[in-house]
Symmetry: D2
Subunit: 298 residues, 4 copies
């Protein structure tokens, strides 16, 4: 592969105005600033990019904008999942044409009782067979209700065009089990910034944390400290940013992450698309306190 799946890759937000229209300039400006922080790449149109609220034309436009703003030495993962295999494959092919390095494909999730091992394996294999770019599995049970089983991951990791997984469940035990069982160059990316350091300890290659949008330097520092063997420093930062991570994920979700970007001033957060609701004043005050405790604002 010509790109690296190692490091910190924030799932960047899609910027909207108050009517829900996409603001491509804001996406570019945000990327310009993140580019200066040591991040190793980006996921464009993950859950934090509100991909479920964009139509196919909008998705391609956002990827094109991102492609212009992401330097070639940083990795560009395109979030490209859909409920049907044909729709997912169509998105993956678009992403390849636009120049994404790899496609991150979420598990199909609507027909949960039927999404057994046979269906999931068939889905990913068909896409990986036909995709011009490598595929990363994406399991995010908090949103999908589907927790990709270790046995399925092990099976799919045998496919030469499936090169990793972003697992957002944050179950370190499951990470350990997976890492021992798959080939050495199959990359596990933790999907939650709250367990980045312990995930690295058991063998994760990196992280795709919403947290890295609002605390890019802290996330990179956890990675760097771990790499140089400074466990005390990695642990110290990890514990300090834990509450902020929860605030912009489990607690307030995408609207919380966008509100935190607004508080940082240098970034554009803005509103989410409806029915997601922007944070109210009370929540914003609580969020600011959490950001101060984490050391990302004063």
């Amino acid at each position: 592969m010509k790109f690296k799946i190692e490091g910190v890759f924030p799932p960047i937000p899609t910027s909207f105005d108050n009517d829900g229209n996409i603001l491509h300039d804001k996406i570019k400006a945000n990327l310009a600033r993140w580019n200066a922080t040591g991040l190793h790449g980006y996921v464009v149109l993950g859950s934090n990019g509100e991909y479920v609220s964009l139509d196919e034309k909008e998705k391609c436009a956002v990827w094109e904008t991102a492609r212009e703003a992401i330097p070639r030495e940083k990795t560009f993962f395109a979030g490209a999942g859909a409920e049907s295999m044909r729709a997912a494959l169509s998105l993956v092919q678009h992403a390849a044409r636009i120049g994404a390095d790899a496609a991150m494909v979420v598990t199909p999730y609507y027909y949960k009782p039927q999404m057994n091992a046979a269906a999931l394996i068939a889905h990913y294999r068909a896409i990986a067979d036909a995709s011009p770019i490598p595929i990363i599995l994406y399991s995010v049970p908090v949103y999908t209700g589907i927790d990709l089983d270790v046995s399925i991951v092990i099976e799919l990791a045998k496919h030469p065009n499936i090169v990793g997984i972003k697992d957002s469940a944050g179950n370190i035990g499951k990470y350990s089990e997976m890492i021992r069982a798959v080939r050495a160059d199959f990359a596990l990316l933790a999907g939650s910034g709250g367990v980045f350091y312990p995930a690295l300890c058991v063998g994760a290659k990196g992280c795709v944390p919403a947290l890295a949008n609002v605390a890019p330097r802290e996330c990179v520092e956890i990675f760097d400290a771990f790499k140089r063997g400074d466990h005390a420093r990695a642990k110290e930062i990890q514990l300090r940013v834990y509450a902020l991570n929860a605030a912009v994920t489990a607690h307030w979700g995408v609207p919380g992450m966008k509100a935190a970007l607004d508080e940082l001033k240098e970034f554009y957060g803005g509103p989410p698309r409806l029915p997601l609701q922007s944070l109210g004043d009370v929540e914003r005050i609580a969020l600011k306190k959490i950001m101060r405790d984490a050391g990302v604002i004063k």
Copy 2:
């Protein structure tokens, strides 16, 4: 309203060939046969219509086909939900233009932790305010992970353009609670054929059962028996079809329902879109036995 929300309204399947292309002729032929069975109308593009696997253009085409094949005296509900408010509203407006009587709008469900009362109420109010046709709420927790709370339904039932709910959870206690609290002409439609008769007992107006695709006469007979006060007959049929209902919903889902249609010969079932998997031979044999026990084949 010019249409009735009382009776049996199957959520019809979308017919595909083996490559996943839509077969409009098969949809029409199926409707022609169902029209002869006493059914009171149809839901076009509910969960059983695989709406999540169709793009917007395909959805409009299926609605147009259905509009041609559904007589004006039968009710035409268009399944028209989407993750974002703007996309859902766009679909509802399409459905109105095509001539649907009402739109059935599923709860948004991806950002589950953020789909609180405020978000859900805002979503439905904005759509109902702008929709040219009445709105039916649609709660289907088995697929969405969101069980619309009674308090939210009570609040939304105050909106003049929200006229009913399809609740697929099958919780008869919840049905009772809802029915006592909402206005008399707000229609509760049971979403599961397995509880049609007891739902009628506590005040439901009708049902939207996948079961009615494969056992239309039995479902209509439950309704008619109840209406004429023949509880023994309604109970007898209900218990007899229970296992078949489970087979084409919880157990084998859309692929099971399509396989049952194929067994009936007079209808076209065909394959689902991938990654949904067609039933294998072993399952088909088990399904046939269940259909025989229910009395829908010999």
Copy 3:
């Protein structure tokens, strides 16, 4: 059998003083009043009897008190489950000695992942084989986390000494499935007063509702109305008492039921054993409103 498993059987509370000591006189006085209401019998030491908070000696003492106060023509079910088979059997044998008509045996539930069909079937068979009195299965997933599967019930219903089930999940679809599959004299007792009437509609023989402690006449009237074919009346009462049922079960549990008894004046409710907490003033005001709406106080 010399006793009837048909009708309304409240799971009576165990009366305590403020130090948590059992008040046997209050239990007797309560039973004397319930005896005058048309109830068909009682469950002594079900979940509402706080059986998990009593030691074995206390359980026997409560059963003895109940035996004295329950007329022979009313059915006396003894709640007699325990985590281990040997402890459950010991309790069942005690209950038989004291003169209970049947023993209601809750599913073991602590080792949930190991409580598969083999373990549960072995548990109940061993007890039923050795018990001098008939056994009623008791499934109450809200407390135990174990929802006894229909296939297990069907298997156990073949045992001559297992004569019924109290199923508190309130899933009317599951009730239908069970009733069609088991022998005609195997009694399904609904475990929730919120679905008593629809449960009767699909074939339940009766109910074991916490609601019947605080609204005995209403529960008996639902049963009587159904028996004489007056569905309108049964439905009317069912919908009227739904919220009260929720208040004394899902919402406020045993402390709510005890507080409601205190509001009725003629009964003794009193405090639960710690750590269960008595209702506060705000909750008591809300409870009174619900009781007034249900027509059980003015």
Copy 4:
């Protein structure tokens, strides 16, 4: 405190014969062997000790046997929870009299909907106030369905006689959050051997793993390697024993752990009390393979 809450503390099994009678000699013999492995102490009558299947007299007898066999320099935690506060306190006082160093008190769990923060905090405070020995909180959601919330732990950690928590959920994110918020000498003990090393990384003091019954040396080696800063070695063992841990916990539970002890030859496993079922031949073969992969047998 005169004892240490740091290191590896297996929750030892209670030994039974085929009729379910306690074998005190086997308990002693097992302890004698574990004493030679570097373990730092024991939990006697945790979930793995089948405490829910023992009556009060049996519990005291097992503690007495353990007290004789556990050297004073190793920590003796007594598992001493019960559904009611009065029963739990009585057990804690027994444990103190027998000479346990601290009592591990499981959350009450039967009345789940009522086990809110107020009830849980009241329960633990009342016990800690009256207990002659320190209290360790015990949260084990797989069995109880109650996951002790971080906010409750933080509140209870302020009590001088509540000195730690055994948290079996294995959620490393939650561990991080807790450790940052509680006083420095409040000990977090991981409840699962599958996350021992990453738990240490974020600040846990030790572990109470069923795994340590069957792989005591490996668990001690993880702890020692971590203490001397040898992360590579700690990780290597952790990944190697992961599957064995799953086998004797989530997968086959107490019967699996007992079967593994039998395979080791030097220990007595024996049968669990019914309704827990001993492993069958097929499972024993699979278990042996897992033990070989983990390096605990050849």
